[in-house]
Point group: C3
Chain length 210, copies 3
């Protein structure tokens, strides 16, 4: 049962490590700072989730997460060095895939530890969002969660689809794959057609001008 959990976790870790490496490349970082950014992006969200749940942090007794990060980062470096261009939007798409894994896995880990469904979805969203948030803050960019179309909404939808299917009694693996697919499709559609939910009109703020 727990078997594919570990692989989903590793896949999410690897995808976020690739996105961290690409962000480092884009910011012309050199040296092993790349490894730092890849690691922080990959384990930031899951670490925060586990700290809040007060369970052992996923990577504390398991070296395989580091192998996943190293392999992903070094593979990306080799690929990028040889091609020197990366298609537009690659970073956003990888981020969306990492999000899909982390949100559903994080929601499940919340439920496993006895949280309410709402808190579980919040924890899933947090573990999906925070690694990328730290990545973007360290690169001094506007976090993708604010730029990205429907970013937070897709996380909530992914977690909600997963928990709803569980409540309907479907098999867990099926519910997981559906939750991930819902999140991924919605996010990719939002990227492609630039779907947003404007809540504020354009305005000239006179609030607290510097």
């Amino acid at each position: 049962m727990e078997h594919y959990f570990h692989w989903f976790d590793l896949l999410g870790i690897a995808v976020f490590a690739i996105s961290g490496t690409l962000a480092a490349w884009r910011n012309q970082m050199d040296g092993f700072g790349v490894i730092v950014l890849a690691s922080v992006t990959a384990i930031g969200g899951g670490t925060l989730r586990d700290l809040i749940l007060d369970v052992p942090v996923i990577w504390i007794n398991d070296n395989s997460y580091f192998y996943a990060i190293f392999i992903a980062a070094i593979g990306t470096i080799l690929l990028v060095r040889n091609r020197l261009t990366v298609p537009h939007n690659t970073l956003q798409i990888l981020d969306a895939i990492g999000l899909a894994f982390f949100v559903v896995m994080g929601t499940q880990k919340g439920l496993d530890n006895g949280t309410s469904v709402m808190v579980a979805i919040m924890l899933g969203t947090m573990s999906g969002v925070c690694g990328g948030m730290i990545r973007d803050v360290l690169c001094r960019e506007v976090p993708m969660v604010f730029r990205g179309e429907l970013y937070a909404v897709t996380c909530i939808v992914g977690g909600a689809v997963y928990t709803a299917l569980l409540a309907l009694g479907t098999a867990q693996l099926f519910a997981m794959l559906c939750g991930m697919a819902a999140l991924l499709v919605l996010r990719l559609a939002a990227i492609k057609w630039q779907i947003t939910i404007p809540v504020f009109s354009k305005h000239h703020s006179d609030l607290n001008e510097p």
Copy 2:
């Protein structure tokens, strides 16, 4: 006894959620990124405090914190959409109110868990300051704790007034209200008259120029 604690916590959460929403509005963020910024501002400081004290994070078994955030954020969005201007300094004043609640509540939570008075005041300051710090970092602004006049001092004063009154044997609620009032009055006065404690003269730094 614990009864008003919960309400103070919820009020602090709501006020910080409003300040996060206003910061999102000021930065022309759209979509539900607003909810992310409101949540991070509201629960960031308290979450860090509880992690450090190794007690269950306040919102992990209690959905009411999320209701408070949602209501505060949606109320603020509706208000701002209809008025389109927010008086100058509103963000700073809300931040000061949130600070008053969080610093005193955080100090008490430290004492409850057996820390020294100094560490308790430090924890109170941390829970008051960190939510706003994350808000400002995510908005790529100079954190208010550095811009704000007497910011850290007001936190220490609020915590000190509270613990001093407790030590003198006053009723806890009275001590709390006095600590909050002291913090709030000092901070608002510092904002109004721009009181600062300059520790460095103006200078041309030749330290580590980029």
Copy 3:
């Protein structure tokens, strides 16, 4: 045995507090915001390490860490006020010394709590790097871990030298001092001769342009 641990910790704390104070000075921060930046730099990395290891945070039952921060910060303020110039690179050198203490102490704390050698070195690196990372993010600078030559590599080397000597059966204090020395020498040499390990060629990124 534990005796010099405490002093190494305090020394690392004090050195990072000085580096935080200098960063505050460089950014012309006034008031006690300096104390906030000094504290965050000094205790950020160790706090994160202890949270992840799920052991009591170093400063929670021990006021001496705060005395170290206050004395270091106030001493630095007095020194800077009277001289008004600080030699070029001072911040980088102090950061390197703090790094040496924190990486080795953090690696040891990981081993003490039963982690693998690889995870212990990772934890040591994290406790060395994260305080300075938060300092740089709050000052809105590119984190030194990305600008700094061989920054992450020196941490890994320091931790590796320490754990290798331990495995060879040398005295713990000797292994610690060697690990710290290796880290410090490598980092200072990298600063002096600007040694880098370029992993990406210069390029024009067409990835995800804003």
